[in-house]
């Protein structure tokens, strides 16, 4: 429980964003609505608003990422914040300085927000437990646990394309077991209340307790895709796999890869999503990834507006009672 309440302040407002688990429906809707307003900022000649002028955002990326890091950086800059990127490989942690010592040093430099990506589950929570009262933490992906801003930008993309969530059938296909994205999507989609949420994967790529999350499990791709409105393909996390979870990439593509023919099982107006980076020819055929039903690049642009919304809402809380200004 503590993990979930950690991200809210005494008045129930978001102080950190660590996971989509435990977010209230209205809170998700507020984030999506605010993001909608930030979309128009990219129509401006000066693609910036002065909301976070004078605030400092630090990107702490302990794990490589291009898209997430870039969109977080762009989001912060479009809010007029100052942005630092700490390259962990070359920083003091390798010289034996502990992570928390480094954080406290950054706090002493009046940083306001840490955006954290780490290969270990729970890293952002750990940092959130130890930061000064004026500092907020955003989880940009921790191990196979959570990636809340990715899930929120996916919800935003679905809502822009499909409108209401209630009538939708959503299929999440692929490596659910290692996917922090899938976990965060499942929490968000069940909170928003879709008609049916399916996960489609071989047994070896499903977490043991997956049914308890409120999803229908399919092992056959064609059945899992039938009449789906939204098809979310996951990246095969080759680097996270140990042992023989898969026969081979070719075999995986034949069984679970999304091709144009197999997509025909879904509704004709179904959208195809992927959090990236894509393994072409492993989980998805290029003709689908680049095809008319794909919204993969839209997800990337929407990521900027959604991250702007989260950052400004978290840093834009009026100071609560008993909280340092």
């Amino acid at each position: 429980m503590r993990r979930h309440s950690l991200q809210h302040d005494g008045e129930g407002r978001l102080r950190h964003l660590l996971t989509t688990e435990g977010l209230k429906r209205q809170q998700i809707v507020d984030i999506l609505d605010t993001a909608e307003s930030f979309i128009s900022v990219s129509d401006q000649q000066v693609r910036k608003v002065p909301l976070l002028r004078g605030k400092t955002v630090v990107n702490l990326f302990f794990e490589a990422s291009t898209r997430t890091l870039t969109t977080f950086e762009l989001a912060a800059k479009r809010l007029s914040a100052d942005v630092l990127k700490i390259n962990i490989d070359t920083s003091a942690t390798v010289k034996g300085e502990s992570l928390l010592d480094m954080l406290h040093n950054l706090e002493a430099m009046q940083c306001d927000m840490f955006v954290v990506r780490h290969a270990d589950s729970g890293a952002a929570h750990l940092i959130a437990q130890h930061v000064a009262p004026h500092v907020s933490v955003i989880n940009a992906g921790d191990g196979s646990h959570a990636h809340p801003t990715q899930a929120l930008l996916d919800m935003f993309t679905i809502r822009r394309r499909k409108g209401e969530f209630a009538p939708l059938t959503v299929a999440i296909v692929g490596d659910i077991k290692h996917s922090r994205v899938a976990r965060s999507q499942i929490h968000a989609l069940t909170t928003l209340g879709v008609s049916e949420l399916r996960v489609v994967a071989p047994k070896t790529l499903l977490p043991a307790d997956v049914e308890t999350l409120g999803v229908h499990v399919f092992h056959d791709l064609d059945e899992g895709l039938r009449d789906a409105d939204v098809v979310i393909m996951l990246r095969l996390q080759k680097e996270r796999m140990q042992g023989a979870m898969l026969p081979s990439e070719g075999e995986y593509f034949r069984t679970y890869g999304l091709t144009e023919e197999r997509l025909e099982a879904a509704r004709p107006d179904a959208i195809v999503m992927h959090p990236g980076p894509i393994n072409r020819g492993v989980e998805i055929a290029s003709s689908v990834a680049d095809g008319p039903q794909s919204v993969i690049l839209e997800q990337v642009s929407n990521g900027i507006a959604v991250r702007m919304a989260v950052m400004s809402m978290v840093l834009g809380r009026a100071p609560a009672e008993g909280e340092g200004a």
């Binding site: 307003s37 930030f38 128009s40 900022v41 002065p50 400004s312 009026a318």
Partner: protein
């Protein structure tokens, strides 16, 4: 609390004044922009009366407020929509009540992030004392003389109604 029920004559008079101004300055292709929420209601009326060619623009100034760090993010922010470029265009900016001038400051900053307008004309349904910035309206529906603790409020959109309320 007192109410002014008849807003429509005020708006018609504002429209006449605006029309005269635009003609005198030989303005073509003006873009009217209403500030959320009350200003937009007034702008919708004016836009209809003036028969402007360009669709009405709307501005939500939440991202440009000067009290963001004090009162936080407005949870009900709506997207700003400017249907055409503001570059070299005459802008008619419309708000409901001109009081401190801070809203207009924010609105002008936002407009300038969309481009460089040729000119901005400010039209407000009501104005009152209490300016904190050197900002004044070009077209005013009605001036209010208010006591220290009184405020003017516009409710709407149907019907539009101005009322003077005692601040708590």
């Amino acid at each position: 609390m007192t109410e002014q029920d008849d807003i429509e004559p005020l708006i018609r008079q504002m429209a006449d004044e605006l029309r005269a101004r635009l003609e005198a300055a030989r303005v073509r292709d003006a873009l009217m922009v209403g500030i959320h929420t009350g200003g937009l209601w007034v702008a919708q009326r004016l836009h209809g009366l003036l028969g402007l060619e360009q669709p009405l623009g709307e501005l939500d100034i939440s991202f440009y407020r000067d009290d963001f760090s004090r009162i936080g993010m407005n949870p009900q922010v709506r997207p700003s929509r400017l249907p055409v470029s503001v570059d070299e265009r005459h802008i008619i900016l419309v708000d409901d009540i001109l009081h401190t001038g801070r809203t207009i400051r924010a609105a002008m900053n936002e407009l300038f992030d969309y481009g460089r307008p040729a000119a901005i004309t400010l039209a407000v349904l009501g104005e009152r004392s209490g300016r904190e910035l050197p900002i004044q309206a070009d077209v005013v529906g009605r001036h209010f003389d208010l006591g220290e603790h009184e405020h003017v409020k516009l409710s709407g959109p149907e019907p539009l109604r101005l009322s003077i309320v005692e601040a708590p």
